[in-house]
Amino acid sequence: MTFLELLGYFNYWVFAILLAVGLYAVISKTNLIKKLIGLSIFQSAVFLMYITMDKVEGGTAPIIQAGVENPVFSNPLPQVLILTAIVVGVSTLSLGLAMVVRIKECYGTIEENEILDAD
């Protein structure tokens, strides 16, 4: 495994590590806002995996200028998918935060264990 090959897989390893960090935060933290932050890290990791797929050696962004002759473009499809996924992430996040605010008003706390005791 030459160094360059290892470098080729580095992006996927960072994806796996970020996935692990995000999931750890979601599972082990009791503060609801920290869980939501963990969730957004978890989703950003998936975005990184998709965008790593689209890079072509020496390619540029898929915008076709007239002048350039037989250009090498990166793959546009994962970018479209991730544009959609980012906005899905933000929507879920804002809905989650609205619920956290309401939970704070109803229960007075946003620590999961205290909420469970209250019921």
Partner: protein
């Protein structure tokens, strides 16, 4: 710029003269989806409910039209935006999707028709337009998943339906709905993101997102590891969304604290759509490429199904709150559907398809009856519901009929699918008898927990100083009675769903031949 000729209009293999039929798959999603924003603008009192019910009725009619179109084993294709299949997004409706479409739109229409009195009791008037708009978004999301034939498109519509169902559940009057729906949001988003990772890995190895195209190209993929990991991620993600046994912890609280009508709708169809996607992925895509996948499939899913049936029924037996009891019984029923699927046989698949239909009828009817009870009784614990039958005879009668259908008494819809499940279990060889024993034991457990409720409703002495309650409002009662009668009708004349289930099973297995 050379003027190229207009591309061949290819949007539906059966180009009938009647243009509407070719657009039906798209209309099925577009009608509820576009009426959702319109309803937000209808501020005056009952208008939001009327608009939502009208949209649900139209989509139910479209689903029925689609069912007749695919009854003879046909598959309706629809290229979205006019772009050919692997490049644009394709919709495809076959027998299996038609069956699930009927379940979704039927459950939504029944719940909406009966919703007005119960929702007016639970949600303030000025928030109702948002509520009904979110309801239509759940409907269009679920229908969008079933109709779509593109892996990423299923993710987008899964997000729409789950975001909107978080809103519906969060509408519940008491404060316990909020932590319950927050847990559902966390687990649902993790499940959807697992599914996204699985689709990403498949896309990485095959280069396409169209389901049929993936199936074709998956055969010649050399490195198997990413595909196995993708299969793992997709199965876990969808199992999380479908509340399969170990990942069902969000279901009891979410269904219990949601508004009663929302529980009717979600319990009948929300988790089944995730099962539909799981079955479609496992049978259409993974099944064909891996010979030994079949053993993995049964070795992994069957124990989960059996554990789910036994443990969830046991939990239901000792549950005090009526809605939590029925919620954990739903998990057991999902275990039945998964059990049928894990037989990987023609009989097994048609049994589980049939059970998707029959369970929606039985559980929908039960939760409708609970909604009638809840209209009069604030507290739904069994100890408080003593002697309800004296004052609310029709509700309790409907409850008994749907309870019998849930247990699977001959003459009701539940019996048909239980019988098909048992005959499928026998076909699977020597240890089939063990499976039959498990099914019978869990049916006995079902008898116990249904009887506990019936005994509370009929024979328990009412609590003193209780103001005499009158019957539930007519609108609620009518729909509950109708669903109870349908339970009996489909028990005696199950031709239509049976034919759909059999052709669905044939399609799925032929897909994997």
């Amino acid at each position: 710029m050379l003027r190229h000729d207009r591309r061949k209009r290819n949007f539906g293999r059966r180009l009938t003269t009647m243009d509407l039929l070719t657009h039906l798959p798209a209309l099925q999603v577009v009608v509820p989806m576009l009426s959702a924003p319109l309803i937000v603008l209808l501020q005056p009192r009952g208008l939001a409910w009327a608009g939502a019910t009208a949209a649900a009725l139209v989509s139910f009619a479209i689903a029925i039209a689609l069912t007749f179109a695919v009854l003879d084993g046909q598959t309706l294709e629809y290229a979205m935006g006019g772009w050919p299949a692997p490049y644009g997004i394709a919709l495809s409706v076959d027998a299996f999707s038609a069956l699930v479409l009927l379940v979704i739109t039927g459950a939504s229409t029944a719940a909406l028709l009966a919703a007005k009195p119960s929702i007016d009791q639970q949600i303030e008037v000025e928030r109702q337009p948002f509520f009904y708009s979110a309801w239509l978004l759940v409907l269009s999301g679920l229908v969008g998943i079933v109709v779509s034939a593109d892996a990423f498109n299923i993710f987008v519509f899964m997000e729409i339906s789950s975001l909107a169902s978080y809103i519906l559940i969060a509408g519940g009057p008491n404060r316990r709905a909020l932590p319950a729906v927050f847990k559902y949001l966390m687990m649902g988003t993790i499940g959807a993101t697992f599914y996204l990772i699985g689709v990403g890995l498949i896309y990485m190895m095959t280069g396409t997102l169209n389901l049929a195209d993936i199936q074709a190209r998956l055969g010649d993929v050399t490195e198997i590891n990413p595909i196995l990991v993708a299969a793992g991620f997709i199965t876990i993600g969808l199992a999380l969304k479908a509340a399969v046994f170990p990942m069902h912890v969000w279901v009891p609280n979410a269904y219990t604290h949601a508004p009663h009508m929302v529980t009717v709708f979600l319990a009948a169809c929300a988790t089944k759509v995730a099962l539909y996607v799981l079955i479609r992925f496992d049978y259409m895509i993974f099944q064909t490429t891996f010979a030994e996948h079949q053993i993995q499939f049964t070795m992994f899913l069957m124990p989960l199904a059996i554990l789910g049936i036994l443990i969830a029924s046991a939990v239901a037996m000792f549950e005090g709150h009526i809605k939590k009891l029925l919620a954990s019984s739903s998990i057991a029923q999902i275990g039945y559907i998964l059990l049928g699927v894990s037989f990987v046989s023609m009989a097994g698949l048609s049994a589980s398809a049939m059970h998707i239909f029959n369970h929606a009828l039985a559980k929908g009817g039960l939760f409708l009856a609970v909604a009638c009870l809840a209209y009069r009784y604030r507290d739904l614990r069994l100890s408080q519901l003593g002697g309800a039958s004296a004052r609310m005879p029709w509700t309790c009668a409907a409850f008994v009929v749907c309870g019998l259908s849930l247990i699977g008494v001959p003459g009701t819809a539940g019996f048909i699918s239980k019988w098909m499940l048992i005959s499928a279990a026998l076909e699977t060889g020597p240890w089939g008898w063990g499976l039959v024993a498990i099914i019978l034991v869990s049916s006995l457990m079902a008898v116990v927990y249904i009887w506990r409720i019936v005994e509370a409703l009929y024979f328990q002495a009412p609590i003193e100083g209780d103001t005499p309650m009158s019957e539930a409002p007519v609108q609620l009662l009518l729909v509950t009675g109708l669903v109870a009668l349908m339970n009996i009708y489909f028990g005696l004349f199950p031709q239509v769903p049976l034919e759909l289930a059999n052709s669905a099973a044939a399609l799925l297995l032929e897909g994997s031949r």
